[in-house]
């Protein structure tokens, strides 16, 4: 750990005691996503000359959200369950120059945070969302999530899940996100590239990363990573599941007016209006 190139972006020590190791379980995919994201951020800082001060990491509640908590040597926020995107909206209202990266999980984003998720995409606020999808609620012990597949046994579906699950990428695209991609923790370079694209994109970039929870899935991390490689298929725009495999790739990459850019026009219009003639 001492020589890890991304360590400079983590708060290893504080005046009140050590922060590392993280609380993540051994083999958790969250650590990998953090690593890939920091690599992307590192490249953006050097290649695009984005100021480190402008990066802002925001998360909700859950294992995935924990990678923000207080580990990062960046401005960050570990907020309330499902509300990271609402807090991000506020931060961007205060300062449209922030490069906001939201770490979230499938439950945090699509269950309790569902409303803020679709509205953030609709408004096209300038955030890059990294949704670590492990198909369950990890922190609280492995309960059903909106992304749990039908029939799967979890601690709250002991007889098997009777419900259908979300396709988060389709949801993001329908709601209006201009950049939508799905990868897994077994696709490091692709995640890094997507994060870079996401930060560069003016608007909501949604990156779903299938992530392993070895503890609740009761599989070894290696087996899960292999599963991710074997059971996914890289596709372009077709996006229908082929050969029974999960489609991964960049599904959408377009441009749409970003919220603050649109609102700035309103500010200009308001300030020039004829209100001032009534003095």
């Amino acid at each position: 750990m001492k020589n890890h190139p991304m360590l400079k972006y983590l708060k290893a020590e504080g005046p009140m005691g050590p922060r590392l190791p993280t609380i993540l379980c051994p083999g958790c995919g969250g650590g990998q996503v953090l690593n890939y994201t920091l690599h992307a951020v590192d490249r953006l800082i050097s290649k695009d000359n984005i100021r480190k001060e402008d990066f802002l990491f925001i998360s909700g509640i859950g294992c995935s959200s924990r990678i923000t908590s207080h580990y990062l040597n960046f401005d960050s926020a570990w907020t309330i369950h499902g509300r990271a995107l609402a807090v991000a909206t506020g931060a961007l209202l205060a300062n449209p120059a922030f490069r906001v990266i939201v770490f979230t999980g499938d439950g945090d984003l699509a269950a309790i945070g569902g409303n803020h998720f679709i509205h953030a995409c609709r408004r096209n606020i300038n955030v890059t969302i990294l949704c670590m999808n492990n198909g369950l609620y990890g922190m609280t012990g492995g309960q059903l999530a909106p992304t749990t597949e039908k029939g799967v046994v979890t601690t709250t579906t002991p007889y098997g899940n009777p419900e259908e699950s979300f396709d988060l990428c389709k949801l993001a695209e329908t709601a209006g996100a201009p950049y939508v991609a799905r990868w897994t923790t077994a696709h490091p370079r692709q995640v890094v590239r997507s994060v870079m694209k996401g930060v560069r994109k003016r608007g909501t970039a949604f990156i779903e990363v299938l992530s392993q929870c070895p503890v609740h899935k009761k599989m070894s991390p290696v087996a899960m990573l292999k599963m991710f490689k074997d059971n996914t298929i890289l596709i372009g725009k077709e996006r229908e599941s082929k050969e029974g495999k999960i489609p991964i790739g960049e599904f959408l990459d377009i441009d749409r007016p970003e919220w603050n850019d649109s609102y700035q026009k309103i500010v200009s219009q308001a300030r020039e209006g004829d209100y001032r003639t009534h003095e």
Binding site: K11, G14, P15, M16, G17, P18, R19, I23, K52, E53, D54, L56, I58, T68, S69, H70, L72, N73, F74, D75, S76, A77, W78, T79, I80, R83, A86, V87, A88, T89, G90, A91, L92, L93, A94, N95, A97, F98, N115, H116, H119, N260, Y263, I266, V267, Q269, A270, R271, G273, D274, Y275, R276, H278, E279
Partner: protein
């Protein structure tokens, strides 16, 4: 086509600042809130439509962009309250105005704002409940203000009684929130929110505006910065200033470390929050009084009811020679127990008129039980008490 804006000609606006010019204005309570917020330096508004607060949001949607601020109508009140947190940590003062059901939704956000010591202002235009209740006036959220958020954080809550005060108290709320790094609640009623009244705006130089202390001003560099340390009210570094500050909601040490939980750390973290507000409680006067000398009875009131109470008490003096003292609580929380005990001598009956079935009556009883023979609630539900109504209850009781 240039759009017609706001109240045509009525609200005279300064060309440079786009704020209302000093002088006399005629405003609705909801509008006065927005003008006060803008004077206080608030530049982010987030809200959700709800009667009877909607006019404030609509005024914000017009006025905030005019002064270069930003307005957003969020998808719900929870989102609105969270926008306030993000904006405040982004370095900008932020406001939302809601009503009772929306206020309930915001409690989780208030809770995390307290522990993260986030300056922000939430104004509740109270209406009757429970449930949808109705859209008239009430004072039924005054306990929710104190105890509605989960956990045991301290609360500052103010109670305006006129449109002039909607303007002034909003500025005061921002000043308190910045000075003490805490969310501040303003508990208003539908009556004042919808009433139109004269408002005198003083020259801006005469209005005190307080901003949060910054570590940069105190020459604390990022490497030595403790987000919740250095002083009883920690200087606040905001995002984007290079301080790498982590916002957290778990109980924490001064540097934000949450990994070393212990009951002692938990206690210390929460106790500090209370101590911080207690200094405010004792340092800021918040009682209006009249007719206290030689009074036999007392009327303790707050919010718009205090206007009726004043008229009732004055009339009782004039017409029946009844010596009823008048005390108005301008601040509901922290409850001014010490200040009350300092000014109240022995009296016979304490009357507490409220637009609820008796809420502030409880801390009043706790504070003054030994200074009187009885404490009598005078409730009025859904409508402001009239002076005749209060007097009829008073005369009945004192017969």
């Amino acid at each position: 086509m240039k759009k017609e804006k706001g109240a045509k000609g009525m609200n005279k606006v300064s060309r440079d600042s786009c704020l209302l010019k000093p002088g006399r204005h005629y405003l609705q309570g909801n509008e006065a809130i927005i003008e006060g917020a803008l004077v206080a330096g608030c530049r982010v508004y987030a809200g959700y439509p709800i009667t009877p607060a909607t006019e404030a949001m609509e005024a914000a949607s017009r006025r905030f962009p005019e002064v270069g601020g930003r307005f957003i109508q969020m998808e719900d009140e929870i989102g609105s309250a969270c926008v306030l947190i993000g904006a405040s940590w982004g370095g900008v003062k932020a406001l939302t105005v809601t009503s009772s059901p929306g206020f309930s939704l915001m409690q989780e956000a208030i809770s995390i704002a307290i522990i993260s010591e986030t300056p922000m202002v939430i104004i509740d235009i109270q209406r009757p409940g429970p449930g949808q209740g109705y859209i008239t006036a009430s004072q039924e959220d005054v306990m929710q203000a104190r105890w509605g958020h989960h956990g045991q954080g301290p609360i500052i809550a103010l109670a305006p009684s006129s449109v002039q005060e909607m303007f002034e108290v909003t500025i005061e709320a921002f000043n308190l929130s910045e000075r003490w790094r805490t969310p501040v609640l303003v508990m208003a009623e539908e009556t004042v929110a919808h009433m139109r009244e004269s408002v005198v705006i003083p020259p801006l130089e005469e209005i005190e505006i307080i901003n949060r202390k910054k570590p940069q001003e105190l020459a604390i560099p990022p490497d030595n910065y403790l987000p919740w340390g250095h002083d009883i009210v920690a200087p606040m570094a905001n995002w984007g200033e290079g301080y790498n500050v982590n916002f957290v909601g778990l109980v924490h040490l001064e540097d934000g470390n949450v990994t070393r939980y212990s009951p002692q750390m938990n206690y210390h973290c929460v106790e500090r929050l209370h101590k911080k507000i207690e200094i405010d409680a004792n340092s800021i006067s918040c009682l209006d009084t009249k007719f206290l000398e030689d009074c036999n009875h007392l009327m303790i009131c707050y919010g718009v009811v205090s206007r009726t109470a004043m008229e009732a008490v004055a009339e009782a003096h004039e017409e029946r020679g009844l010596k009823i003292g008048y005390i108005r609580l301008r601040r509901l929380w922290p409850f001014p127990e010490e200040q009350l005990r300092n000014i109240v001598c022995e009296v016979d009956t304490i009357f507490v008129p409220e637009m609820n079935l008796g809420m502030m009556k409880h801390p009043i009883t706790e504070a003054l039980r030994d200074r009187c023979k009885k404490i009598v609630s005078i409730p009025s539900i859904g409508i402001l008490h009239s002076p005749d109504y209060i007097l009829s209850k008073v005369y009945e009781e004192l017969r």
